[in-house]
Subunit: 225 residues, 2 copies
Amino acid sequence: MVNVGNRSGRPRAGEERLSREAILLAALRIVDAEGIDALTMRRLAATLKVNPMSLYHHLPNKAAVLAGLAELVFAELELPDPGDSVPWDEQLKDAARAYRNGLRAHPNLALQVLSDPAAVSNVVVVTMEPFYRALDRAGLAPRQIFEAANTLIDFIHGFSLGETSVRGETFELAPDLLAQVRALPEDKAPTLTRIVNELGPDGLAYDFDSGFESGLSTLVAGFAR
Amino acid sequence: MVNVGNRSGRPRAGEERLSREAILLAALRIVDAEGIDALTMRRLAATLKVNPMSLYHHLPNKAAVLAGLAELVFAELELPDPGDSVPWDEQLKDAARAYRNGLRAHPNLALQVLSDPAAVSNVVVVTMEPFYRALDRAGLAPRQIFEAANTLIDFIHGFSLGETSVRGETFELAPDLLAQVRALPEDKAPTLTRIVNELGPDGLAYDFDSGFESGLSTLVAGFAR
DNA sequence: ACCTGAACACCGTTCAAGT
DNA sequence: ACCTGAACACCGTTCAAGT
């Protein structure tokens, strides 16, 4: 492996070995492959074959790296806008599905992304047009559109949090609901116990896709009231 | 300050200076007061006037401390169950409000709590009875009850994530929506731009309480369809 | 301006030794 | 079993020095 110029000193113009973008892309690869805890400034520098301190010329600190990653994930997000060729509720659902899928593309980053107010605020501005357009077509008033969009986003965020948190964890960490309920003291939660038993093991095998669709349908019905 | 026995060696029975519970309570105080990053094993030991390594006799590692904190927060959670004296939708809303308030009690811990699958799974079992009872009274089938409860929980989680993330941050981090939208290129997001402009600065002053209520109403209407 | 090396003030955790 | 002290293998970041 040729060691192309890890001498110190300022590189000539156009020969910079780093850039904010290159650093963030390398960071994203680490996080995607090994999780958020694997991302350290030193590790990041090593994969870029650079001194750890060099990073600080492009990003002020580690928090900025994480914020930049949230930005990257949302920048990749492109909600489809089928225009008015489909009913408003399908338009809304499609946009919601695309948003969920965008978050799933980098599950190890979801927590970071969803808890970064600046990133979330920005994504609302950049990608929410299909949401607003669909809700407008549904005939809602401006205030209702605003609140409906927020409610839908909150649902997707909460859903994605659950969906991405479970991934990669051992199943011991998400113990079987049926067994847990049956271990409850008698009559501690009678309705829950009855419902869970009626559903049985098969009915409780949670499927994320159908859970998401169920939530979407409920919300659309609620908006349409 | 008297230094009561920081000699080494095993304490006599009943004179143990530590316990899992005491450690977790001390950790909770640190996190509540100074945020999750302030919690280190060394810092935690210092506030307990104990050697850092002593903690490891009660909790296997730092991850176990964080998991224990999530457990604590949810253990405090007590959803009111007014029984059948109120309509089912009020019963459901009240339980949802109580759940939200439980998460707000420790905002610095919300992220940790919501992303801990074991803790979330456990809270569902222990506190969701009012949700299930209300939805049962609404006349939903078991499968619908299960999915409705999940949808409601996801909404509350997503909402709480937004609510607690913004807290304590400088407002620069959640830039003004109106200004952001107006900075967009012409016709990038026409509907969004129109709606936001119609609402104006006052209409956009987001109020978490009314946002939560709006989401609850939408969901209840959707469940009742 | 951009990269480097040494250094500072921390981390979580292992291990051997005390009682 | 429970607590301690020293040590290991890390962190993020500051600072002075190179070009």
